[in-house]
């Protein structure tokens, strides 16, 4: 079996079915570009989530008699704490005024400052998971002088839920896209086999090996899948460029997208071809001839 022959036969087959081949590669590209777009969106969602986690703060409210310096020192010494800052009740009120903006006159109506002093704790990035936050909240709560702790874990919980859902969605899309491109590859190779049925019969009769007969079809399916994958990658890059016009910070994991598109294209091509060959051509040397009995 010679590689040059197999490549030549692959090109001959592609050329003969170029209409089907191009159409199938285009549909595969459309399927794969959907996957690429989801990869880009997910990547950015995870980046956003990671950035949000880096800014997670705990608010530890402090009783009036507590000495702030010692308290801050104790909090900073806890595992997972990046920074702790004491915010006296006057500063809290100023912040509230700033937050309320034009409605800040509402605050002036109050006879006394109702806001407690607090320590704002910034969490190290590795400690921003739901369980770590809950553990830290508990530790801070036990420090004398702390009346209440608000950890913002609801926000983290929501983020974790979103990223989990998106991950499942991604897996679902991956499976659907893979099945779709697999089916397309299968259909193309099946029709290619059907159009070369006579040629395959001759090959079998003269003593061509199974791999000589099968490999051109497998190469054809793989080439089609990879072509679709390459086109999908180009479209994904274009999509990303357009997105950055609106969202300049949007990033694209180029290597991952390229690998996903080409890899999935090639894998679906090989698998689809093998299924088509198995279905049509189960035992190459024994069943395909349809000689009419005398």
């Amino acid at each position: 079996m010679r590689l040059s022959y197999i490549l030549q036969e692959t090109l001959r087959s592609i050329n003969r079915n170029r209409g089907n081949f191009t159409l199938a590669a285009t549909v595969q590209a459309i399927c794969l570009v959907l996957l690429s777009v989801f990869v880009v969106l997910t990547f950015n969602l995870f980046r956003l989530s990671e950035a949000a986690r880096r800014h997670v703060e705990l608010y530890a409210f402090v009783s009036e008699q507590t000495e702030p310096t010692l308290l801050v020192q104790r909090i900073v010494s806890l595992d997972g704490v990046a920074q702790a800052r004491y915010v006296p009740k006057e500063e809290a009120l100023t912040e509230l005024r700033a937050d309320l903006g034009p409605d800040s006159s509402l605050v002036d109506a109050l006879e006394q400052n109702p806001l407690p002093a607090s320590v704002r704790i910034t969490v190290r990035s590795g400690f921003a998971s739901l369980s770590e936050l809950a553990a830290l909240e508990q530790k801070v709560q036990l420090i004398p002088g702390i009346t209440e702790v608000w950890s913002g874990k609801e926000m983290v919980e929501r983020l974790e839920r979103i990223t989990r859902t998106v991950t499942f969605l991604d897996i679902g899309i991956l499976v659907i896209v893979f099945l779709a491109v697999l089916f397309i590859a299968f259909q193309t190779v099946e029709s290619s086999i059907a159009s070369r049925h006579h040629e395959i019969q001759i090959m079998e009769l003269v003593g061509a090996t199974g791999s000589t007969i099968r490999l051109p079809f497998i190469f054809e399916g793989t080439a089609q899948g990879m072509l679709g994958g390459a086109a999908a990658f180009v479209l994904a890059v274009v999509f990303h460029r357009l997105t950055t016009v609106v969202i300049p910070a949007a990033a694209m994991p180029t290597g991952v997208v390229l690998l996903a598109d080409l890899g999935l294209g090639a894998l679906s091509g090989v698998t689809g071809s093998l299924i088509a060959l198995n279905r049509i051509h189960r035992t190459p040397q024994a069943v395909t001839m349809d000689d009419s009995e005398e």
Partner: protein, 231 residues
């Protein structure tokens, strides 16, 4: 791996008690015993449905016998795994009544295709094709497509395709069935020449007169049984 005796003494074909039933238990062959020595020329005679094509199909392992033993060039075909079938078929040439040429390839390309798919060294290919075309008087037709050839020329191309891989056995299934008497005589002469050069030739035909004129061994089948074996 199947045992593949290669010695000169191995018969080309040995059938011992071979039976083949088709669907609905219709017996295509029943208890066929036949030995063909290497270098023989043998006619398989019989009317339509007598079992000639079934017999040939068993020999190139397109079909398997339900019982009995089929040995071709020393290969026991029942024990032969599918992966070994190409090795057997490389040593056998097959010719059909309906030619089975590739319509979109020229005469030259039909022959080249065969040599390429069986893995012949590329530098050997042009020489072998040229020699085969010379032998069959087809050089002037090498760039023609099958539809541009007469029936006789198409059958000659089909023989050239079988011959180009230098087979030890040539199986011809009604090779003169679709061509005029003059072309049929030509084809027969070519087959005799192939046999003269050492290949074993089995020709299935319903034309008993043609076989009788040729004065070679004639095995007659009737309803799947050998009813006559004359030399």
């Amino acid at each position: 791996m199947t045992d593949i005796p290669q010695s000169e003494s191995v018969n080309a074909v040995e059938l011992v008690g071979v039976s083949r039933l088709y669907q609905h238990s219709w017996p295509a062959l029943t208890d066929v015993n036949l030995t063909i020595e290497k270098g023989d020329f043998i006619f398989i005679l019989g009317a339509t449905g007598a079992g000639k094509t079934t017999l040939l199909r068993l020999l190139y392992r397109q079909d398997l016998a339900d019982s009995g033993k089929v040995k071709v060039l020393g290969y026991d075909l029942k024990k032969m795994p599918l992966s070994e079938v190409p090795h057997l078929r490389k040593r056998i040439g097959i010719i059909f009544q309906d030619f089975r040429l590739l319509a979109e390839r020229t005469v030259y390309e039909n022959l080249e295709f065969v040599l390429r798919v069986i893995g012949t060294e590329p530098k050997e290919i042009p020489g072998r094709i040229q020699e085969t075309l010379n032998r069959l008087g087809l050089v002037h037709k090498k760039d023609s497509y099958p539809h541009q050839l007469s029936g006789g020329e198409q059958q000659k191309t089909s023989i050239a395709r079988a011959l180009v891989k230098e087979p030890e056995i040539l199986l011809a299934d009604e090779p003169t069935g679709n061509i005029d008497p003059k072309a049929a005589a030509d084809i027969l002469n070519i087959l005799k020449d192939i046999n003269y050069r050492g290949a074993t030739v089995l020709m299935a035909t319903h034309d008993a007169d043609l076989a009788e004129r040729t004065r070679r061994r004639r095995v007659t089948l009737d309803a799947g049984r050998i009813v006559r074996d004359e030399t």
